[in-house]
């Protein structure tokens, strides 16, 4: 090698990471793997090949789990759950701590194996994936330790079926396994078929850590195995990270099953650069964002929104920077961009880019190897929001861009997507950054940064990016349930009777939409009888058009979601005050409708409920999270937006008031469907709403059949969340139909809610979207 020549050219040369240890590990398993079930590897079955994406060399043969293999894994998890869930928290903490330590001790083995299997640069697996996975186990060791103190009212769910993607194989495993174990659950995890190896190595580590058999089971295979997990009767919880398309199917497949579900899906996250930003740093942020992991990142800042005045300058800087990205062998320590996971994905990316009939495609002149699966960093400028490439997730190293004029327009463009996972905001003006962060519909916001993650900060999406959070205390809610015992409601039917003329003036119950009483679109009403079978009144039968109108009215009342907690509290208190003034009247109504004599108590409890949620309006307001940066991560509580709620048949006043007050207190606009048995309690409330300064449209109340209204509510794209306290059937309809836009659902599956001894935290949590805002700061 001519040193003089190198001194002239100053090339990097190659710096390959040694893979002997990883190869030895594979050899030790004769490059053939069964599943990791009940603490041991099973005999390999129905094997398929897993390749190194960088050179298509064969790494190992992996088993496709049969039905009986999965059953064995689930049975093992089930029997392990009996003891693991009862273990002392400290014992679970020690196990998680041991896993964290072992991930550190074997960090280079994990990193090289990950890069071999996935094709990501060794720098990323070594410096990002594996350390974050370790951090996740450390953090959750702490959560396991503190569970009885911090979450005394929660208990584990049971057996968790976890299905993870190929882009961050070990890290996603850590995100799923650590919280599940910390809370006393056991797991059956399926890695993606392209990337099973680090999960299998993790199985071995579980034994080294002394984890009881069956607490962690790893089954491998393709989507068919995933489907079996999703529909397996003995699994209580499904956690999925992957595409929105598959997420939708899982939502449908689990609907009505009573399984708990969290989905972390796709994204088309905006990367917003204002004209006063540090542009050179913003460019580097893009490198960390769209050119991280070959752009195969659900939260990649794939949609660059740049302020008009600096667009040309920024694009020039980006293009220059793209030229210094190094693409090639992922095992080379000086490589920025490794291999795309599989030729299928490569083709998908190429096809999408080639399909662009608008915009200018710029690709960096990187030296690309012939063999292997490499795609150059790509920038598409001059696109409009209407172009498909600005809307669809490409999941590759492709940045698309358009311009904006004002902060307001930036927000509109940022939210002009079906996704809502992450956003990155660049400006040196703190007023601008902190003003914009709450207005962007996304679960994670990075200010002057990108792709910052930590176990103590929630991660997850809104809209079609899924629901549920991973990380932080919010992530643990997805792996626990309230301790209280629950009973089935049973079949409740409205009272029957016969219509007879009343001596009173006929009461005309209507729907309440947009602050006005209105007749139902259908023009149909049905009679309601009291407990004695006496005719009370006709109530309207709302239909999908009434729902549409209620949503329109709620949209017009968007300002409610921007009011302060203090304002919301005042209105809820005022409702309490006004209800109190008519307490006697409502007590009589309730007694008559229910045929019982505790109406007075229910009214009193309802007033108290209003006070309680009024109190929470300015108190349930997020927190500061300790994350390993100089700066802070804020967990904020934002309203979901428009929430639909199908109210309970029993407790017609207390149930409705609880649902209404919870939603309103957190700034949501509520569309309620009243009890079918006692709808007139709801219709009597209209006047109280009118006199309590409740803004028009922030509350709509519909009457009619729960079963009929559930589907159009669940399918309405502009409703962010839907709750049901009605029957088992209604729960199933809600979950099935919600798959359309993947709205959050909260249903009772036919179980009673304890309206008297309310679990406030559950209602509050369902009434908000947690958002993590990362704010690095510091100067000088």
């Amino acid at each position: 090698m001519d040193i003089k020549k190198i001194m002239e050219k100053m090339d990097y040369g190659t710096a390959p990471e040694a893979v002997d240890e990883a190869q030895n590990w594979l050899l030790g398993h004769k490059n053939r793997f069964g599943h990791f079930i009940d603490g041991a590897f099973t005999e390999p079955e129905a094997c398929f090949t897993t390749y190194n994406p960088a050179d298509r060399s064969v790494l190992a043969e992996i088993s496709q789990a049969s039905e009986s293999s999965l059953d064995k894994a689930v049975a093992s998890a089930q029997s392990a759950f009996q003891s693991w869930s009862q273990e002392a928290p400290h014992k679970r903490a020690k196990s998680l701590y041991a896993l964290a330590r072992l991930l550190q001790k074997h960090s280079r083995l994990f990193a090289t194996l990950e890069t071999l299997d996935n094709g990501k640069p060794i720098r990323e697996s070594r410096d990002i994936d594996i350390p974050l996975a370790q951090r996740h186990f450390y953090y959750h060791a702490g959560m396991a330790q503190l569970m009885p103190i911090e979450m005394p009212e929660r208990m584990p769910l049971g057996i968790c079926g976890q299905i993870i993607p190929w882009n961050f194989p070990l890290l996603m495993l850590a995100w799923k396994v650590a919280p599940a174990l910390a809370m006393g659950n056991t797991v059956v995890l399926k890695p993606a078929e392209y990337t099973s190896l680090t999960a299998l190595l993790f199985g071995e580590i579980c034994n080294e850590a002394g984890l009881p058999k069956g607490v962690v089971n790893i089954v491998t295979g393709d989507g068919a195995v995933g489907e079996r997990i999703v529909t397996h009767q003995d699994i209580q919880k499904i956690a999925f990270t992957g595409s929105t398309e598959v997420g939708r199917k899982i939502r449908q497949a689990t609907a009505g099953s009573g399984k708990s579900l969290t989905l972390e899906l796709g994204g088309k996250s905006p990367f917003i650069v204002f004209d006063d930003a540090d542009l050179d740093s913003a460019v580097e942020g893009l490198v960390d964002s769209i050119w991280f992991n070959q752009g195969q990142v659900c939260c990649a800042g794939s949609r660059l929104l740049v302020q008009e005045g600096i667009a040309e300058k920024l694009i020039h800087k980006i293009k220059t920077r793209m030229g210094t990205l190094r693409i090639g062998s992922p095992l080379d320590k000086s490589i920025d961009i490794g291999a795309i996971i599989d030729p299928i994905q490569h083709k998908r990316i190429s096809d999408m880019v080639n399909s662009a009939d608008a915009g200018d495609v710029f690709q960096a002149q990187c030296e690309t190897k012939e063999e292997g699966c490499f795609y150059p960093p790509t920038l598409i400028t001059g696109l409009s929001p209407a172009d498909p490439l600005m809307q669809e997730e490409i999941f590759g190293p492709v940045l698309t861009t358009t311009t904006f004029r004002t902060p307001k327009e930036a927000i509109a463009l940022a939210n002009n997507t079906t996704y809502g996972l992450a956003a990155s905001i660049w400006s040196e003006n703190i007023n601008l950054c902190l003003g914009i962060a709450p207005k962007i519909q996304a679960g994670v916001i990075w200010i002057n940064g990108a792709n910052m993650f930590d176990a103590n900060a929630g991660f997850g999406g809104m809209k079609e990016s899924g629901f549920g959070r991973e990380g932080g205390k919010e992530g643990l809610l997805a792996y626990t349930k309230p301790k209280r015992s629950r009973e089935l409601i049973g079949n409740i039917k409205p009272f029957e009777g016969s219509i007879a003329a009343s001596e009173h003036i006929d009461r005309t119950a209507k729907l309440y939409i947009g602050g006005k009483q209105s007749r139902p679109d259908s023009g149909y009403s049905h009679p309601v009888f009291d407990a004695d079978g006496k005719f009370i009144a006709h109530v309207p039968k709302a239909n999908r058009k009434d729902i549409r109108n209620a949503v329109e009215a709620a949209n017009a009342a968007a300002s409610w979601s921007a009011t302060t907690g203090h304002q919301r509290a005042q209105i809820l208190y005022y409702m309490g005050e006004n209800l109190s003034a008519r307490a006697a009247e409502f007590a009589v109504l309730l007694d008559r409708f229910t045929g019982k004599s505790d109406g007075e108590l229910e009214v009193e409890q309802s007033i108290e409920r209003l006070f309680a949620f009024a109190a929470y309006a300015d108190k349930f307001s997020g927190e500061l999270r300790d994350v390993p940066i100089r700066g802070m991560a804020l967990k904020t509580h934002e309203p979901c937006g428009i929430i639909g709620a199908i109210c309970p048949q029993k407790s017609p006043l207390l149930g409705l008031i609880t649902v209404l007050a919870a939603g309103l207190s957190m700034g949501n606009r509520m569309i309620l469907v009243a009890s079918e048995i006692s709808p007139l309690v709801a219709t009597e409330l209209y006047q109280i709403l009118d006199t309590s300064d409740v803004p028009k449209g922030s509350v709509s109340i519909l009457t009619g059949s729960h079963q009929d209204l559930a589907a159009p509510l669940a399918a309405h794209m502009d409703i962010a969340a839907l709750w049901s306290f009605s029957s088992t059937e209604v729960s199933k309809i809600v979950e099935t139909q919600s798959a359309l836009n993947l709205k959050r659902t909260w249903v009772n599956h036919g179980y009673e809610t304890d309206w008297e001894a309310l679990d406030y935290s559950e209602f509050l949590t369902e009434s908000i979207e947690p958002k993590t805002i990362w704010i690095p700061f510091g100067e000088g």
Binding site: M10, A15, R123, E284, S334, E428
Partner: protein, 320 residues
């Protein structure tokens, strides 16, 4: 190695452009993130590492700036500058002799150094203008430059008035640096910003820009006498300023981090920073220098390690 002339590309400066200065931003956290990943993003190994370290030696301004400097001490330093690496190591690497970028001394030592380096092609750099604080009368600071140039210094390392930066008095800073540049005449001027005393990275970016507008040939971080000297974040800000200046004006300005760089590994990181952010035209001693005194020793040990395969010891390499 013979010095290449950069007269044809020497920065002629621009008018003072306040808008442009005020548009300079520097987000500290983001810059620190980039700086901290630089070392991990690029790895230079084996022959390449050796070549890069040799390159680093050619970019060193071998420096002595002590109150107890004597002529004999400076002569020893000059001799080391001429043969920075033990001859048999150089031979084993298949090279002719190499030399450092310059020898850097106080004014009183310029003549001695020039004499001792005669014929070597190694320029003498003089720190000047009331180094390190720069608070002597302007007239004397300018005179000091002129005297050093007269004494044979081909490079002048000036210090700026930090107060002009802290008060955002860009006109005063511009006028001062421009006056220094005029006094330098044919000698190349390195403007020391004393970044450890400028308060923020934004100030570093803005002061860099003013110095370049005023005609600095190089911008340099520190005197080595501040409590914080060259750091990667500061370097990132300064080289980005150089790149921005080049993009706007087409003029090349060199970069010299000084103080605190003492390990061979640091030198590699700095070189890759330059390669990544500025590119190949800056990877030579016309455009890039290390202000360092102990860096050479560590590089020598690494070079011997490359030749023998065994880790080296300090005593095996000649003192300055």
């Amino acid at each position: 190695m013979a010095q290449k002339s950069i007269e044809q590309t020497r920065n002629s400066g621009t008018d003072l452009n306040i808008d442009w200065i005020n548009a300079q931003q520097a987000n500290t956290s983001a810059i620190e993130r980039r700086a901290s990943s630089l070392g991990a993003r690029r790895s230079v190994k084996k022959h390449y590492q050796t070549a890069w370290l040799l390159k680093a030696i050619t970019c060193i301004d071998l420096t002595t700036l002590s109150g107890d400097d004597t002529a004999e001490r400076v002569k020893r330093l000059c001799d080391k500058a001429k043969q920075p690496v033990r001859a048999n190591i150089i031979e084993a690497l298949g090279l002719d002799n190499i030399a450092v970028g310059a020898v850097c001394v106080y004014h009183d030592m310029v003549e001695t150094a020039v004499e001792r380096l005669a014929g070597s092609g190694i320029p003498v750099a003089a720190v000047s203008t009331g180094f390190p604080a720069g608070l002597s009368p302007l007239r004397l600071r300018i005179l000091e430059i002129e005297e050093s140039v007269k004494a044979g210094a081909r490079e002048i390392d000036i210090v700026i008035s930090r107060r002009h930066v802290l008060n955002q008095n860009w006109q005063a800073l511009y006028d001062e640096v421009q006056a220094f540049r005029q006094a330098c005449g044919p000698a190349h001027m390195k403007a020391i910003l004393a970044t450890g005393e400028l308060g923020s990275l934004r100030n570093v970016a803005r002061a860099s820009m003013v110095a370049m507008m005023a005609g600095a040939d190089f911008i340099k971080t520190s005197t080595g006498k501040e409590s914080v000297n060259a750091t990667l974040p500061v370097s990132l800000v300064m080289v980005r300023a150089i790149r921005n200046f080049y993009e706007e004006t087409g003029q090349y300005v060199g970069y010299k981090p000084a103080g605190g760089i003492s390990k061979a590994k640091d030198a590699l990181t700095y070189l890759s920073l330059i390669k990544e952010e500025l590119g190949h035209p800056w990877l030579n001693n016309d455009m890039f220098r290390f202000g360092a005194s102990s860096l050479l020793g560590d590089i020598e040990r690494q070079l011997e390690h490359h030749v023998t395969g065994a880790y080296s010891a300090t005593y095996r390499h000649a003192l300055a």
